[in-house]
């Protein structure tokens, strides 16, 4: 029995219940003294439909996860399984083969010894499918009958359906939170493994980064100094990119909120937002193919011969452009949120528009702007494609923007897609780097949200 059929079954029964409950509620309504019942017939219908479909679907979900294990257990208790090797790879592969044949995914077994297991598998699968189907039906019917019998003219179906909808919304919001938790847990797990091999002190404070994914034996902590990566990340994402993005973003926000006519605003705002939607890999091309050579040529023209084609400056400039929409849209929102009274107050003092903007509006909007900048930084330091394509791979610890530099994100990509085995410290270092990145961006976002919150309180 495929999950799709169980799904259809649950929905089909739900529909039947829906229709039945609706017509019953209409009957209540017709016979009620004033033609009034507590809830509209639609709510009665949904109440019954939910009682049928939700428990049945939940059961089907659990059953789907559970039944393969039950099937295997029952096959193993079959006499034919006694011939299996006791443990290990061979046993697992024979079981998998027999299962594949039984499910019709493979034409025949490769290992003749597995043949004897096919029939037990087939029987077990069938048995558990029938059990699952029957149980689903029983649960759906039980839910339907239980809920249908509760329908009365004064039954509070509306409140109950609304509560169910609220539950659904709660689950939806929990998904994102649980995913975040899952990410943290998996990161922590691998990070801890990494730190059992390499000391955190070497990792966090070492200045030499040259992990060799092919090395064997005890890892050399001296290869895992991540300072050059942190520096490259900060230099490109938080310094060069912000030198570009903050002034341009802020000025465009000021122009759009204070000076632009409605027509201009209506054209320019969507255009800026499109900039935010450009895939970063496209920025990457642009950085690698257009900006980086131009930066190098310009640097060489002014006599800096060490300029390389892959430069921190090129990556940072393009990243700055990429971030402009974030800064400008946050700044735009917070400037627009400054009460009109504040603007009027300043204008009524005889301040010019420019004085009002620079002395009243921007200072008043500053918390929001700062929050926007922090979100932009956290976005920039987590950015991968641009640096992969334009910043280079060499872990240089330098302040020269014309040299190539590497970042945390770049090294995560490099380590995870490299040749090393999964439990090699070089590969695991990607998780430690990811953890650092995660913590830093989390902190930045947290601070930004706090700042925004305090700022809101000041006006509302």
């Amino acid at each position: 029995m495929s999950p799709a059929i169980l799904l259809l079954l649950a929905f089909g029964l739900g529909l039947v219940g829906w229709l039945a409950a609706r017509s019953r509620a209409w009957a209540f309504r017709r016979s009620a003294p004033l033609g009034r019942i507590h809830s509209l017939p639609g709510f009665h219908a949904w109440y019954v439909a939910l009682w049928i479909a939700v428990p049945a679907l939940l059961f089907a979900l659990v059953w789907n996860a559970l039944s393969p294990e039950l099937v295997t257990q029952s096959v193993l208790s079959d006499p034919a399984a006694a011939a299996l090797p006791a443990f290990g790879f061979e046993r697992d592969s024979m079981l998998a083969e027999a299962q594949a044949v039984a499910l019709g995914n493979a034409p025949a077994v490769f290992n003749p010894d597995a043949q004897g297991l096919v029939e037990p598998y087939r029987a077990a699968i069938f048995r558990y499918e029938v059990i699952g189907l029957v149980a689903t039906l029983v649960i759906a019917l039980a839910g339907g009958i239980f809920s249908f019998l509760r329908l009365k003219p004064d039954f509070t179906a509306r409140t109950r359906v609304e509560r169910a909808v609220m539950g659904l919304l709660l689950v939806a919001s929990l998904v994102a939170i649980l995913t975040t938790l899952g990410i943290i847990v998996s990161l922590v797990f691998e990070t801890v493994r990494f730190f059992t091999m390499v000391s955190p002190v070497d990792f966090l404070f070492g200045t030499h980064w040259a992990p060799d994914p092919m090395s064997s034996g005890a890892p050399d902590g001296k290869q895992f100094g991540a300072i050059p990566l942190f520096w490259g990340t900060i230099y490109i994402g938080a310094i060069i990119a912000m030198i570009v993005a903050i002034p341009l973003g802020l000025m465009s926000a000021i122009y759009l909120t204070q000076y632009a006519s409605n027509t201009v605003r209506q054209v320019m705002k969507p255009l800026l937002e499109i900039l935010a939607g450009v895939p970063t890999v496209v920025y990457g091309y642009f950085a690698a193919l257009t900006v980086a050579p131009a930066v190098r040529d310009a640097a060489q023209a002014i006599g800096i011969s060490s300029a390389s084609t892959e430069s921190a400056l090129a990556a940072g400039l393009v990243m700055g452009v990429m971030i402009i929409p974030f800064v400008s849209s946050m700044a735009d929102d917070s400037i627009a949120a400054v009460p009109q009274a504040m603007r009027d107050g300043s204008l009524a003092m005889g301040a010019t528009k420019a004085e009002t903007i620079s002395k009243v509006l921007v200072p008043a909007a500053l918390p929001g702007i700062v929050a926007g900048v922090m979100l932009a930084i956290s976005r920039a330091i987590g950015e991968t494609m641009i640096v992969v394509m334009a910043a280079g791979a060499s872990a240089n610890l330098t302040a020269n923007p014309f040299q190539s530099m590497t970042t945390v994100t770049f090294q995560i990509v490099a380590m995870l897609t490299g040749e090393g085995s999964f439990d090699h410290p070089a590969t695991l270092s990607a998780f430690a780097l990811g953890m650092v990145l995660f913590l830093v961006t989390l902190t930045l976002n947290f601070i930004a949200l706090r700042v925004v919150k305090r700022y809101r309180e000041a006006y509302e």
Partner: protein
């Protein structure tokens, strides 16, 4: 600041409400002639003419939407900030048309200050709130002079004793009534000739209101004050001249005592006796 050019008192216009006041302090500071204000196609003020005296408090009363705030805002061209607003007619400040081309709005607003309905201190320190105007107008560059202006403005607004020890606290941390007095002090700091007040007490409790009314009374004589108010009692308490607005026109304008005790127009009488509005 700018010494007003001695101008002959404008001759009263032909519209009935504007009556010449024989007494010298009532010499017109602002005189509006056939002023109409439009928001887009909607006419909010219809051919209003009025002489606002130099050293009195003038109250604009009238039901909501009658145009009194709109007219007030046209006196320092704050309507300019509203898209689609347009003013026709003449508004003379000391005989100069404030809507003529080449009129500097910055200079105008330094001479005609404004206090708003809701206290709107800037999110800066108390000191910086007061110093804002003098700084942008370049009234003084020296710190000690600025300190003096801040102190005297706060003193005139009756706020000095309450805040003198915490001038660096944020202006928004004050109570509503204190904030409004701060806004009045801020307006005074640039030494205006006229102060416009747009329902300055509507967001305040009765005690803070009483304090502001006292303050308005203390400021009378030094500045021409125009106050828009919803409260007829307030108009009666603080003003010497009252104009009754209705449907974008001035129905009646005269001394406050005449308006309240002896209105000429039926509509004025109905309004002040609470029959509508």
């Amino acid at each position: 600041m700018n010494a007003p050019a001695p101008t002959p008192a404008p001759t009263p216009t032909s519209t009935p409400p504007a009556s010449p006041f024989p007494d010298p302090v009532a010499e017109a500071k602002i005189s509006a002639k056939d002023v109409s204000v439009f928001y887009g196609a909607k006419r909010a003020i219809d051919a209003v003419s009025i002489d606002i005296p130099k050293s009195y408090v003038t109250a604009f009363i009238g039901p909501s939407g009658c145009g009194k705030s709109t007219f007030l805002r046209s006196l320092n061209r704050m309507n300019d900030t509203i898209a689609g607003a347009r003013v026709e007619g003449e508004i003379l400040l000391d005989g100069e048309d404030i809507y003529r081309s080449g009129m500097d709005v910055v200079q105008l607003r330094a001479r005609v200050g404004m206090v708003f309905q809701k206290p709107n201190p800037f999110p800066k320190s108390i000191y910086d709130n007061i110093a804002y105007g003098p700084k942008i107008h370049g009234i003084t560059g020296s710190k000690s002079e600025l300190d003096g202006i801040v102190e005297s403005s706060l003193q005139r607004a009756g706020l000095w004793d309450e805040v003198k020890d915490r001038l660096s606290d944020s202006g928004t941390a004050l109570s509503g009534g204190q904030q409004q007095r701060l806004c009045i002090a801020r307006a005074i700091a640039v030494d205006p000739e006229v102060i416009l007040m747009d329902e300055p007490c509507s967001a305040l409790d009765p005690i803070a209101t009483a304090r502001i009314e006292e303050l308005i009374d203390e400021l009378r004589g030094r500045y021409a004050i125009v106050i828009v108010t919803h409260s007829m009692q307030q108009a009666a308490r603080v003003s010497q001249r009252t104009a009754f607005f209705h449907l974008g026109k001035i129905v009646e304008y005269g001394t406050t005592s005449d308006i309240f005790t002896n209105p000429r127009e039926e509509r004025t009488k109905d309004y002040i006796t609470g029959r509508y509005g």
